[in-house]
Symmetry: D3
Subunit: 173 residues, 6 copies
C-alpha cells in the first residue's frame, strides 16, 4: 500500500552552511539541530574537528534550500556561539521515493523505497515504527529490522508492485 511518493530530481538551489565552534557547551547541539530541522532544512550534521590551539571543536553543517538561508543564519547566530559562518551553493540529487507497507507479526510497518532512474536501488524500514515495535514487544530492534527487510524482499522487490512508470525517467526542475 502506497502512502506517498516523490520523483527523482536534482535541485541546484541548495546551500551548504558551515560554522566551526570551539567554545560552546556540547549540550546545546541536539537542541540546535531540532530548531534547524523545525525550520525546514534538509539536513543537519556535526563533525569533530581540531581547531586553534588543539581544541576539539565541532563543525555545524546545514544542507538547506537557498530560500531558508536567512532563517538558518538567524538560528545559528542566535543559538550557537559562533561569530561567523560560511556557505556555498551545491546541487542535490535525490532518489525517487515511495512508501510501502509490509505486514509483520507485530503489525504494519512502513518501508521507504528509493528509485534511481526508475530502478529500485534501496529500501529502509521506518525507524520510528520499528523502534515502537521493539519497545512494545520486547523484541531486539535488529530482529524487527530483519523481519521487515525480509518481508519487503519477498513481497516487493522482484514483483514490480512498486516502481511505477513515474520513477522511470529522471526529472529535473
Amino acid at each position: 500500500m502506497k502512502f506517498e511518493h516523490s520523483l527523482e530530481h536534482e535541485d541546484s538551489q541548495m546551500m551548504i552552511v558551515q560554522a566551526n565552534i570551539d567554545d560552546m557547551n556540547p549540550e546545546f547541539s541536539p537542541h540546535i539541530s531540532d530548531l534547524l530541522f523545525a525550520a525546514g532544512v534538509n539536513d543537519v550534521y556535526w563533525i569533530p574537528i581540531i581547531m586553534k590551539r588543539g581544541r576539539l571543536g565541532i563543525q555545524l553543517n546545514v544542507l538547506t534550500g537557498a530560500e531558508l538561508l536567512p532563517e538558518v543564519e538567524r538560528i545559528i547566530f542566535e543559538e550557537t556561539t559562533t561569530l561567523g559562518l560560511r556557505y556555498w551553493p551545491a546541487t542535490v540529487h535525490r532518489l525517487g521515493r515511495e512508501f510501502v507497507q509490509v505486514q509483520t507479526t507485530w503489525g504494519a510497518v512502513r518501508v521507504k523505497a528509493g528509485f534511481y532512474q526508475g530502478k529500485l536501488v534501496q529500501f529502509a524500514p521506518e525507524f520510528n515504527e520499528c523502534e515502537s515495535i521493539a519497545r512494545a514487544h520486547g523484541v531486539p530492534l535488529k530482529k524487527v529490522y530483519d523481519e521487515v527487510r525480509n518481508l519487503f524482499i519477498q513481497e516487493h522487490e522482484d514483483s514490480g508492485q512498486i516502481g511505477s512508470q513515474a520513477h522511470k525517467s529522471k526529472q529535473s526542475p
Copy 2:
C-alpha cells in the same frame, strides 16, 4: 570601555582550501597552522578522515580571502606532504564585533561581543586574558570565565551600553 569594533558584513571573495594528507608526521600540524595564521588566513582546522587502505588521514582546511590563495598554496605545498589541494569559493557572513571590558576581582578582562542585525547575540571572554589570570592567581579557568560572563551580563547585556547604531543595519561591501 570599547577598544575596537567592526561591522557585520558578508564577504563573497573567500576560498575554502582543502588537502587530504595520509603520510605526514602529526607533529608538523600545529606549526603549519601557525604559518598559515601568520600569513593572514581567517581559519585553519584539521579533520580526522579515513583514506585509502583504511589509513587515518588528516584533512587540512583553510578559510582565506581569495587574495591570499597563492601564499596559502605555497605554504601547503612546501610544508605538508600533499601532492595536491583543492579549493572553491564561499561567502562568509561575520557578525559585528565589539570589545568591551569588565572589571573583575583580578583586573580588567576583555570580552568580545557579537552583533547580528544590531542585536547582541553572543559574548565571549578573551581566552588569553582569562588564562593569564587563572595562572597568576591559581584560580580555575572555568571560574574566571563564570566571573567574566557574570559581570558582562550585569553591566552590559541589558543596558544598551554596547550595540551602537553602527551595528543596527547589516552592511554588505
Copy 3:
C-alpha cells in the same frame, strides 16, 4: 551444513595493550595491524586522539591472550614509533559460534551464527564470500548481504537446525 563450531566461554587471561602515537606516518598502520593479526592477536583497532600540543595522534589498541604479550610488545616497539606502551588484564566473553551455509543464486555462502546461553542472537554473512560474489557477478554488495540474510532467516532461524545442545549452557574454562 556445519563447518565448525566453538562454545560460548569467558577468558580472563586477556590483555588490552595500548600506545599513543603522535609522530608516525599513517601509511604504516595497516601493515602493523597485519603483523599483529598474523601473530595471533584477537583484535587490533586504532582510535583518533588529541595529544600534546593539539596533535591528531592515533592510539593503537590490541586485544590479545596474555601469552602473546612479549610478541605484541616486540612488534609495537619495532614497527611503530612509540617509546612506551601500557597494558592491563581484561576478561573476554565470546559467544558460541557456528558456521552454516546458505545456497544463494550465486552459490554457497557461509554465515557465522552467534549463540548466547544457547540461543541464536546474531548471524553475519561472511564478508569475503559476499564480496567475491559482488565482484564476480556485478551485484551490489548490499544486495548480496540481503539475499544471504534472507535465506538464513528462512532456512535456519526458526527451524532449530542450528543451535545444538552444545550451545545451551555457557561454559567457563
Copy 4:
C-alpha cells in the same frame, strides 16, 4: 531549596564493558543506549574507531556496577551485532551532589552542584528544564543557561547556603 543530595564517595565495584562493532546499522545505537540506561547502568558512550580493513567501527562502552554485568551482557549480545565483549574492574570517584533551585524570569530551574572534599567545585543547570524554557518562551538555550548560572553565582556560590557539613569529609563505603 534542596531536593536531594548524595555524598562524595568512591566505588571500587564498577566495571567498564566494551565491544567493538563493525557491522551494525548506526540507527540502532541510540535505542541500545536507552535499554542500557533503563537497566540502571551509570554511563553509555560510543567511540568511533578504525577496525580491520579500515572500516569505521564503533566501540560501545558501558560503565556499570558489577552487579549489573549479566544484564549488560544480555543487552549487548541480544541487541548489537557483536560476537564478543570484554570488561575489567575500575574504581569510580563521584563528587557529592546537591540540587538547588534558582528562580529565573521564566520560573524555577534546578541546578546540580558538585562538591569535592566539601568544597563547591562545579554547578550545572538541569538540561531538561532549561530546554523546556527555551522552547516555551522562544529564548536561546545559551541565554537560559547564562541566566541560570548567573543567578546561581549570585545566590549560592559565595553564601555558603549549600555545601553543608555533610559534604565536608569524603566518605568511602
Copy 5:
C-alpha cells in the same frame, strides 16, 4: 632513473560529491571505495559525523573529474544506502610529479617526487614496494622508509638530477 612525469597543473573541472549515511553496514565501505577508484575517480575518503538522533554516521566524499559524475552517482546510489547526494565544483591544483628510483640494500624502490613551480618540495617512497620489502626481508616498514628517504636525499635532492625544465613553469590548461 625516471619512469614517468606529469606537469604541475590546475583543473577547474572537478567535482566534490558527498553523501551522509547513517544506516549502512560499515563493512561495505572499503568495497565501495574500490568500485569508485576503479571507475577512475581521484580520491575517496570517509569522515565520521554525528547525524540525526546522535547516530554516528559516515560521510562519503569523492573527488572526481566532472565527466565521471554520472558513473559516481550510479555507484553511490546502487551500492550505498543513501537516498540523496550533493556535489559542487572545485578547482584542483596538482604538483608536477616524477618517479625516480633509488637502489636500496633490498633492491630498487620507486620514489614519487613532487614539484611546485619547478622546485622539488616533496618526495614519498612508493608504499607497495616498501611493504613488499618489509614482508620479504622481515624488516620494519619504518626502517625501509628511512633507508629509501635517506638514499633519495643523498642521490637526488640537491643534485638537480630531477626537476627538469619541464617543471619550472606552472602550466594551466
Copy 6:
C-alpha cells in the same frame, strides 16, 4: 654526544584516569592538559566520544604514577565540569632512552633514541629544536626533520656509538 639516558623498564604502579565530559567549553582543554603535565603526569590525551542524547563529548585521559592520583583528581574536579571520574591500574613498559646530538647545517639538534632489549628500534628528532630552526631559517619543518634523521642514520644507526651495555638487558624495578 650523550646528554642523558634512562633504562628500559616496566612500571606496574601506573593508573589510567578517565572522565567523560559533555558540558565543558572546549577552550579549557589545553589549559587543563598544561596543569596536569605540570603536576608530573606521564600523559594527557583527549578522545572525541558520543554521549547521552548524541552530544559530542570529550573523554579526558590521564596516564599517571599512582602516587599522583590525589593531585590528578583534584585538578580534574576543580578544573573540568565532570562530576565523576574513574581509574584502574595499568603496567607501563618504557623503552631505554638516550639523547644524542647531530650536527646539522643549522646547528646541533638532539635526537631521542629508543632501545628495546638493548637494540636501537626508534629515533625521533626533538620537536622544539627542529621547530626553532624552521622558524629561524625559514626552512620547512619536514626538511629539518629529514636532515636530522638523515644525519642520525649516517652517524649513529649502524655504528654502535649509542646503545651501550646499559641498554642490553631489560631492567624491572
